[in-house]
């Protein structure tokens, strides 16, 4: 058990080092001289004086050997200092933190909706496999997986904002502006959660302890509520964590469409504006977070599931 934890921890550290190295090398990989890029971003499209490039190089310490620069950069990055945005000139750390909070709120709302629909739906279709409810659930979830969010989003805006005028079409103020984007984002996780909880519940309902509960005189509904859901929800918990990690940066399209100042839009705008510090900061944060969440999800799974835990001990 502790060996596994230690191993996981070492892998996590190794990953973070690799990621930080990749992020550090971003300006070097894109070809061209990073100092030139910086000077260019400051003076706009005016002609660049080679002497000022060299002054800037010394000033920024970019004339030092690469590994010294990396260690220095890493040291500040660990302290949350990723430098200043080329565009807004404000420090990257707080900017990323603000965006993360927004994306986290959005992702949790979307996953909340998904979970609220998927768990009952999955449970019901597992209780009556092959019956109408199961067929309908399967059909609906198949359909949801194939819906592109950049199609559903403008259509939802058209209906709810432009025709009915009951919800804002974009922006980030108040719960009302959260409804449409969360709804759009919830479709795909909803489909996956339903399928996973259905499969898990079908397994659970065949377990001996369910038969035991039934034979003690509990009816089907009581059995499912008291014994089934707790056990059937376990794979969904893991999946929830994975989706949370995925949505933190992966909701780019929805954030751009609804003008939500989250992580996805931060990254998108950094790419469009070639804003290297923001790009580095958000890349490190997003990847580190998703790896961390995944490791935690694995740990949670092992803690929740005695069978796995015992297998790991022996």
């Amino acid at each position: 058990m502790w060996m596994i934890a230690l191993q996981r921890f070492l892998i996590l550290c190794l990953t973070l080092v690799v990621i930080s190295l990749l992020a550090f090398l971003v300006p070097y990989m894109s070809g061209g001289d990073p100092v030139r890029t910086i000077v260019q971003s400051r003076v706009g499209d005016m002609a660049i004086d080679p002497a000022s490039v060299e002054t800037m190089r010394v000033h920024l310490g970019l004339d030092r050997p690469l590994y010294v620069q990396y260690l220095g950069w890493l040291w500040s990055a660990i302290h949350g200092d990723f430098g200043y945005s080329f565009v807004s000139r404000s420090p990257v750390g707080p900017e990323v933190a603000r965006a993360l909070v927004v994306s986290f709120t959005l992702a949790m709302s979307a996953l909340g909706i998904a979970l609220a629909v998927a768990l009952p739906l999955g449970t019901l279709s597992a209780m009556w496999p092959g019956k109408t409810i199961d067929t309908v659930a399967t059909f609906v979830t198949q359909t949801f997986v194939a819906v592109p969010e950049y199609w559903f989003a403008p259509m939802a805006v058209l209906v709810f904002s432009l025709y009915l005028g009951i919800l804002p079409s974009a922006g980030w103020d108040g719960p009302a502006s959260l409804v449409l984007p969360a709804l759009v984002l919830s479709l795909r996780p909803l489909a996956y959660f339903t399928r996973v909880s259905r499969a898990a519940m079908i397994d659970v309902l065949q377990a001996p302890y369910i038969t035991a509960a039934r034979s003690r005189g509990l009816n089907m509904n009581q059995t499912v509520v008291h014994h089934g859901i707790r056990n059937g929800a376990m794979p969904v918990v893991t999946l929830f964590a994975l989706w949370l990690a995925g949505l933190l940066g992966g909701s780019v399209v929805v954030e751009v469409i609804f003008a939500i100042p989250g992580m996805g839009r931060l990254i998108y705008e950094a790419v469009v504006n070639n804003d290297v510090p923001v790009l580095q900061g958000s890349f490190v944060c997003i990847v580190a977070l998703s790896v961390l969440i995944n490791t935690l999800a694995d740990a949670l799974y092992i803690l929740l599931n005695p069978a796995v835990r015992i297998r790991h001990v022996h």
Binding site: Q142, P148, V253, I257, I267, F283
Partner: protein, 303 residues
């Protein structure tokens, strides 16, 4: 991410590889009839879309990039069956052409990912030890990366282009296949016929290509079909953001992005390309679902 978590770690569809009998139409019909209805419907829908996309350069009524500012945002007419976009380009022609890039890119990344992932997964399971450990830890790591983010970063660094697009989506895309192929191989490894082959002195490579891969191919195919929709939507999303297929090429997601400001005046401009992506993704998902469903029943019958 995500679909791999649906895939059973010890998949159920493990039939011995059949030698290919002389194929006939009757056999094909039997194959389809044995499957869930969604397989037939999905195949039919996908074939229709694929044929339309292939022959589109010869059947489109107008030049898809010919602009006519006098006919901006025109409604459906005899000349332009579905109307025109904000630059007066014929919507129907652009729709027929518009799936070619994204469907091909999605297919290529998927096939690359499936081949690389399957090979690495099989090698991982057959070799074991340190190789297995390294490959699976890399999978654990990459599988948690959001694929859109990886793609965006790679495009940011290397610039947009089909090569970057395909490479960036393959880097993350092979991992679920590796995990699945490894699970399948471990199961196949315990079969009698593998032991028989080993006793007979067959080489590792021979066993992998003659016994393991043919037996693992069907469940992997089912997952590939299920993942195609996801890939198509991801490629579309990148094009939507201006990082995938570049204008003036006609592309469904790009058309959707360009028409967004006009959604209130001409909803069809946004609705139609989205519907095209949706139907393509749905048809392939149905094929995958049909393949998987039959597998489930077949294994139940065999037990």
């Amino acid at each position: 991410m995500s679909i791999n978590h649906l895939a059973p770690s010890a998949p159920t569809i493990l039939e011995p590889a059949r030698s290919t009998e002389p194929s006939s139409v009757a056999q094909a019909i039997r194959f389809i009839r044995q499957r869930h209805w969604s397989f037939a419907v999905g195949s039919l829908l996908f074939l229709t879309i694929a044929v339309l996309l292939i022959i589109s350069p010869w059947i489109i009524p107008h030049d898809p990039s010919a602009q006519s500012l006098l006919r901006r945002l025109a409604g459906p007419s005899v000349q332009h069956w579905l109307g025109t976009d904000h630059l007066g380009r014929d919507l129907l022609s652009r729709l027929l052409i518009g799936g070619r890039f994204s469907v091909v890119i999605a297919a290529v990344t998927l096939i690359l990912g499936a081949v690389i992932g399957t090979l690495l997964g099989v090698i991982s399971a057959r070799t074991g030890g340190l190789t297995d450990e390294i490959i699976m830890r890399v999978v654990d790591l990459l599988i948690s990366f959001p694929d859109v983010i990886v793609a965006i970063f790679m495009i940011a660094i290397f610039g947009p282009g089909y090569g970057t697009l395909i490479a960036s989506l393959t880097i993350v895309g092979w991992t679920p296949f590796a995990r699945m192929a490894r699970g399948l191989t471990l199961e196949i490894n315990s079969r009698e016929y593998i032991k028989a082959a080993e006793v007979l002195g067959c080489t590792k490579t021979f066993i992998i290509f003659r016994h393991v891969i043919p037996n693992a191919i069907r469940p992997i195919a089912a997952i590939s079909f299920l993942r195609f929709g996801h890939k198509l939507i991801t490629v579309g999303g990148l094009s939507f953001l201006g990082l995938g297929v570049q204008p003036p090429n006609a592309d469904w997601a790009l058309m959707l992005a360009e028409s967004q400001p006009f959604v209130e005046r001409a909803p069809l401009l946004v609705f139609a390309p989205g519907l095209a992506i949706f139907l393509t993704a749905l048809s392939v998902t149905w094929i995958g679902q049909g393949l998987e469903m039959k597998g489930r029943n077949a294994s139940k019958a065999a037990q």
